[in-house]
């Protein structure tokens, strides 16, 4: 294995040997040769193929399900419905980036008395061949009593709206519940200062309403789940998941098994972006395997993925913001209504905390509403909630700058949060790189250049995401040749084997190539939270650091034993030289890492380092994006001409994969800005459930994406890491909106800003 490029390390990482370099990722060769085993690639002896029957209706009561014809089909071994599962309680379980009631988790996996969205699972079969399974689901007869679907978040909040759940009452932050049942599952509010006096101080106040569509994570690999229930009562699960332990802790209670009876092996994962945290197929595969005694594999097709998994919330948002003539923002009032989909749990909380997070605004009120509608249950999607809320606030800020005749970048600098600033939710920032990102953007060749040509415009926006730690685990042993296998519980979605192994290597003073990271099953490593929230390189790296420190300590002890001296007289240096006191002849005693490794077996046995961390600290990350677009006035099509993304990574462990996260986030953000939407008809039928009609950016839709990494080390991490994955999806939509306004003078107030929407606004004279 070789280091890819001789690109110099950054000024901030020059002090390190491994951090800041660009080694070839450890799992790379498998992934360019087709050898890597993803969830759908598994093939077990005697394995059956499963298939799910899904609801054609958005809202209906299930009157009856007749599975007899399906069961009679040759090759069908089992048919299950919700009634075949043990009754689930309303206990609240950890679902990765949130919590949920177990009975809601079950009802979303397979509907009980009602179907709540088109594509909601109703029954599942297992058969000897997937073609037979496909035929079998067609033979299941379901009688539905149609109910009125609730498809818009504002309609859902109106008194008298049809209710999805009879027992759902609006929860407030103080724990109280509304008297009447409602589609509004919860309301939260964050306040700071005095809103009325803040607006009274403003010279200019702008208020805008926004609507955004549901959008899908769009991972290229559909969901899958394979399970094998053994006669001894243990259940093996293989799946593409961002969190093997979350799958274990969801499947076990749904099947009334102990977590110790369930082993989940995370396969390679073909993208997730938050959408592969919830369970969908795994519990069905588990029950089908229990019924048949054979391994059962379920995979979704793309239509099922779009109909029944993970989108992020569609929203209705209202933002009122006031500023003085000099650009000082005095007050902001933010109203966020988020579609949760069929069950409570939209990301409105995170959206609310992020909404004004880059700015030090003295007077704020942020209201958030979590609202159920007859659409798929939303799942986390890259910086969940923030692309929506920050689209609204960044857009109004850009309009304020325009109204005041101020440079939008300067106005952001003027109001930017710095160390010590407090958000409305109470969080106080430590050392952050908010200003540094804006300054780097200001100095960038892109911002310094002049944009020319008709119908062209430039926009800018800022973004914020938390990046929190939580539980991660790392075990590593030292082999006799000095190589170090490293065992991890974090699914590697985009290079985290490498970024975690590099932190272990740095701490031990060895090369990245001498560390061999492996992602293992839930019985083979300590509890590890999901790969999500930009936490993996942060918390996983911290675990690797502590694991390496554990190895260093044990190697000091071993050297002391060999030298027959006190361990406190031995020190493991950052250069991986273990130094002891002078011997009887006065000669220096020392071991290289490899020399001591070679003596471990004969001097007392192998050394295994381990660390299990639970870090509740965070690494707040900011980003500034600049975009140039050209709008075709005849078609409404927007072309992205140039894009620059600036982001504070804290410390960029592997800069190439930091750039990759930034570029990938931009691409998803541009898709959300310009094309991606859930197009429902009045009956709740999703009309664009294919990758032809759900239009994600192609290589031809994007330019090169210039990425400028800013490094303001996070003091709350041994190597200064902040997460990098989430924040780059946030600024694209408001930056593109500003660029379109700059190009054609029209402010778009809905996402996506599709050709249709732009023609509506221009030809039909909206805005």
């Amino acid at each position: 294995m070789v280091t890819a490029q001789s690109q110099p390390q950054s000024k901030e990482t020059e002090q390190y040997n491994v951090i800041g370099t660009r080694p070839i990722r450890h799992d790379g060769v498998d992934k360019v040769t087709g050898a890597a085993q993803y969830g759908a690639d598994i093939n077990l002896p005697g394995m059956l193929a499963g298939r799910v029957l899904r609801s054609p209706h958005a809202h209906a009561r299930i009157v009856s399900i007749d599975t007899s014809k399906a069961e009679a089909l040759e090759g069908v071994l089992a048919v299950i419905t919700n009634a075949d599962f043990p009754r689930a309680s309303d206990e609240v379980i950890d679902t990765g980036e949130g919590t949920a009631q177990l009975n809601w988790v079950l009802d979303n996996v397979i509907a009980s008395d009602k179907v709540l969205y088109k594509g909601h699972a109703v029954a599942a079969v297992a058969a000897t061949d997937h073609h037979i399974a496909e035929d079998a689901v067609e033979l299941i007869e379901v009688e539905y009593e149609l109910l009125t679907p609730v498809l818009d978040v504002r309609d859902a909040m109106v008194d008298g709206s049809p209710l999805l759940h009879d027992g759902l009452h609006t929860g407030e932050m103080d724990g109280s519940k509304s008297d009447n049942a409602s589609n509004t599952a919860s309301h939260l509010q964050f306040t700071k200062g005095d809103l009325d006096s803040g607006f009274a101080d403003a010279d200019v106040v702008i208020e805008r309403e926004f609507e955004t569509s549901m959008a899908h994570q769009g991972y290229i690999e559909p969901h899958n789940g394979t399970a094998y229930y053994r006669a001894d009562g243990t259940l093996d699960v293989w799946t593409s998941t961002q969190g093997a332990f979350v799958v274990r802790d969801s499947v076990a209670p749904l099947l009334q098994l102990s977590p110790s009876q369930v082993k989940v092996t995370p396969m390679e994962i073909g993208g997730g972006f938050g959408g592969k945290i919830p369970v969908y197929l795994e519990p069905l595969a588990g029950l089908l395997s229990q019924k048949t005694g054979r391994p059962v594999k379920l995979t979704m097709n793309r239509e099922e993925v779009l109909l029944a998994t993970g989108p992020t919330s569609g929203t209705y948002m209202r933002v009122r913001m006031g500023a003085k003539r000099d650009g000082t923002i005095t007050a902001a009032d933010v109203h966020l209504a988020f579609e949760a989909g069929a069950y409570p749990g939209s990301p409105v909380g995170a959206g609310a905390m992020c909404a004004l997070a880059p700015y030090d605004i003295p007077n704020q009120r942020i209201d958030g509403y979590d609202v159920v509608v007859n659409k798929p249950k939303t799942a986390a999607y890259r910086a969940p909630g923030a692309p929506q809320s920050e689209f609204a606030t960044e857009s109004v800020l850009n309009e304020l700058a325009e109204e005041l005749g101020l440079d939008p970048l300067e106005m952001r600098l003027q109001n930017a949060c710095e160390e010590g600033a407090q958000r409305a939710d109470g969080f106080t920032y430590g050392i952050i790189g908010n200003v540094e990102c804006l300054q780097a953007a200001q100095e960038s060749p892109h911002w310094q250049s002049e944009l020319q040509g008709p119908n062209r415009g430039r926009g800018i926006a800022q973004g914020f995401w938390f990046n929190i730690g939580f539980e991660s685990s790392a075990y590593a042993q030292v082999n006799g040749d000095g190589s170090v296998p490293l065992v991890l519980g974090s699914t590697d979605i985009g290079g985290t084997r490498a970024s975690i192994a590099m932190q272990l290597a740095e701490t031990l003073g060895i090369s990245a190539e001498d560390v061999h990271p492996h992602v293992v099953d839930t019985n083979s490593v300590g509890y590890t939270q999901v790969t999500g929230g930009s936490r993996t390189t942060f918390a996983g790296g911290w675990a690797a650091y502590e694991c390496a420190m554990d190895i260093r300590r044990q190697m000091e002890e071993r050297a002391a034993q060999i030298w027959e001296c006190d361990a406190s007289d031995v020190s493991y240096g950052d250069d991986a030289i273990i130094r002891g006191p002078a011997d009887e002849d006065g000669n220096d005693q020392q071991f290289t890492f490899k020399a001591l490794a070679a003596q471990l077996v004969t001097s007392g046995g192998h050394i295994v380092g381990r660390a299990d961390v639970n870090k509740t600290s965070s690494g707040p990350a900011f980003a500034t994006h600049i975009v140039d677009v050209e709008v075709d006035p005849d078609t409404g099509k927007v072309d992205v001409l140039r894009y620059t993304a600036v982001q504070d990574a804290g410390t960029a462990i592997h800069p190439a994969y930091v750039e990759g996260q930034m570029q990938g986030g931009v691409a998803q953000g541009v898709g959300m800005a310009l094309n991606e939407e859930y197009y429902y008809d009045d009956s709740g039928d999703l009309k664009n459930a294919s990758l032809l009609d759900y239009r994600m950016p192609t290589a031809l839709d994007l330019p090169m994406i210039d990425s400028i990494i800013v490094e303001v080390p996070n003091p709350g991490h041994p190597y200064g890491v902040r997460g990098v994955g989430e924040v780059p999806i946030i600024p694209p939509a408001p930056a593109v909106r500003a660029a379109i306004a700059n190009a054609i003078g029209v402010h778009m107030n809905e996402l996506p800003m599709s050709p249709r929407a732009i023609l509506d606004a221009t030809v039909l004279g909206g805005d």
């Binding site: 993803y38 390679e268 993208g271």
Partner: protein
Amino acid sequence: MATEHIVVNCTINGENTTFLANERDSLLEALRDRIGLTGAKEGCNNGNCGACCVNMDGRIVNSCLVMAAECEGTEIGTVEGLASGDQLSPLQNAFLEQAALQCGICTPGFLVAAEALLEQNPDPSEHEIRYWLAGNLCRCTGYDKIVKAVQQAAGQSVV
């Protein structure tokens, strides 16, 4: 509902191969489920994502849109055939060196498609690369590093 099975003889990655296809199998299903070559991936099963790209008689096809029974007498190339033993092709190396993959699920399709591009057009422009690869969706990278990897494999200088 009896299913017919069909004997298919073809060449896969240079090797004479005979397999028994279900009459309803696509080439993708046959590769993955009957032959055991799981490098080609199913992303959409209707020709929109390119994750199942294979080379068929010199042309790039979405193997989900080709019936297995149509493959009699064809020469098929998959991602598993790009390397010789542990010697990766220049394009495979370029993907690793440019960090042109994150999750890796689209990578086999991109590699097969880009190898075919470089065979036909050894010195493509950035636009030609983007146009050729527009049938392959990647959700992780924003395409920047994929385009650069193809440029590197074409011997072009990469900024």
